[in-house]
Subunit: 269 residues, 2 copies
Amino acid sequence: MARDPKAIGVFDSGVGGLTVLARLAEQLPGESVIYLGDTARVPYGTKSAETVVRYARACAAFLCDKGIKLLVVACNTASAHALDILRTELDMPVVGVVEPGARAAIRCTRNKRVGVIGTRGTIQSDEYSRVIRSLDPAVRVFTKACPLFVPLAEEGWTDGDVPWGAAQVYLGELLACEVDTLVLGCTHYPLLRNVIGQVMGEGVALVDSAQATAAAVQETLAGIGMLRPERTGAFAQQRFFVTDAPESFARVGKRFLGRDIGAVEWVDF
Amino acid sequence: MARDPKAIGVFDSGVGGLTVLARLAEQLPGESVIYLGDTARVPYGTKSAETVVRYARACAAFLCDKGIKLLVVACNTASAHALDILRTELDMPVVGVVEPGARAAIRCTRNKRVGVIGTRGTIQSDEYSRVIRSLDPAVRVFTKACPLFVPLAEEGWTDGDVPWGAAQVYLGELLACEVDTLVLGCTHYPLLRNVIGQVMGEGVALVDSAQATAAAVQETLAGIGMLRPERTGAFAQQRFFVTDAPESFARVGKRFLGRDIGAVEWVDF
């Protein structure tokens, strides 16, 4: 018997959060998921905290209306700016991607020097540094905004001279800081993992918060007795909503999810 | 005596339209201008026609409320999708950037082979091809969407390996088409003029619709007797509004306008 047939709600500014959804589906195959990509307002990473909070509230309200049991903020910028606010305002568990990523980085580093890359909004919020320092004050955090990585990933330019050149410009100073761990602090960045890994070198571990976030969701649901057993997987469903351009979401999203997405529904709010 | 003290309204999805404003200020120094950058919803170039029309209507309504005498749609994507609709709905002249750019290209080409580059939205709309063909059916038009040029210009990466590499990927097929004229069909692209010019070679003329648009505004206002004489220039004012992040607009906009912007006001709609 399913413990709770309600779905998990996941939102992102666009397709990037599908990397989180992919890990959720692997780790929690019994759970249904409703995904919302706010493609009418994408990207969040270049916008102000106030505006991102406004958009995050609207996305959360849409998913809550669908009767979800837990909300995943699968966007680093929205997690950095809006997680505390959503946790205060919503009557359900809210899981972001920053804290799971920060915990994974702390587990990973040996020399206590961690790099974090993300959108301008995420880096300016300084949320990764704050969370990592609060968990382990001995860890030094070095951050760098890499605004071109999102459009490169969306364009599908994940290999070759252009992403390589961009990665060299952005990552040079983190290399000089001798970090041994680098947090991919944006859900788009796992698509550029090869190039980022080559520029950083083999000695630097790349932390993708998607896996850690899926684990945090599992832990949270288990903790409140709302986990749905795996054997009900046959009934688990995925639904996809976007605020603009469903066809484009399906096309680009395939690269992020690693498989066809199927039907994508357009919603306006 | 000023013939009409009302301002010209100009909107764009963000900072790009400032290249149009710069030409307007040069050519019509007697005119006041109210500029609106819809930075809360930027970019338009990746979004659907329906969504861009909705945003364009909202921007137009805001400027009309300010009592403007003419509206300039200083965004190629919004011009491509929404110009006809705004002309039908508004009780004032509306000037877009596509038709002036198309006319300039036709005047420029000798071999009747014109290239057009722009956002995915502008290129998919096929509006440049439609307008050019309607003005001169003998001209062949070759188009290419260059989605990374906008983030490159916003990031200030207008020279060096990365923009050079991107330009080579995007422009290769237009080179093969032997165009002698290339329309920079996005207001961000003039910032990449050097790199684009180097890749296309000296034999290809680059057409920037900003200058042509300013001329079209002058012609339109003169035609209806609403041009403000140059000698009142001392009283001409520029006001800047954005829907998000005024500081970032001022910082990035400086590169587009070629001078400090001054006060930028935040508006919500």
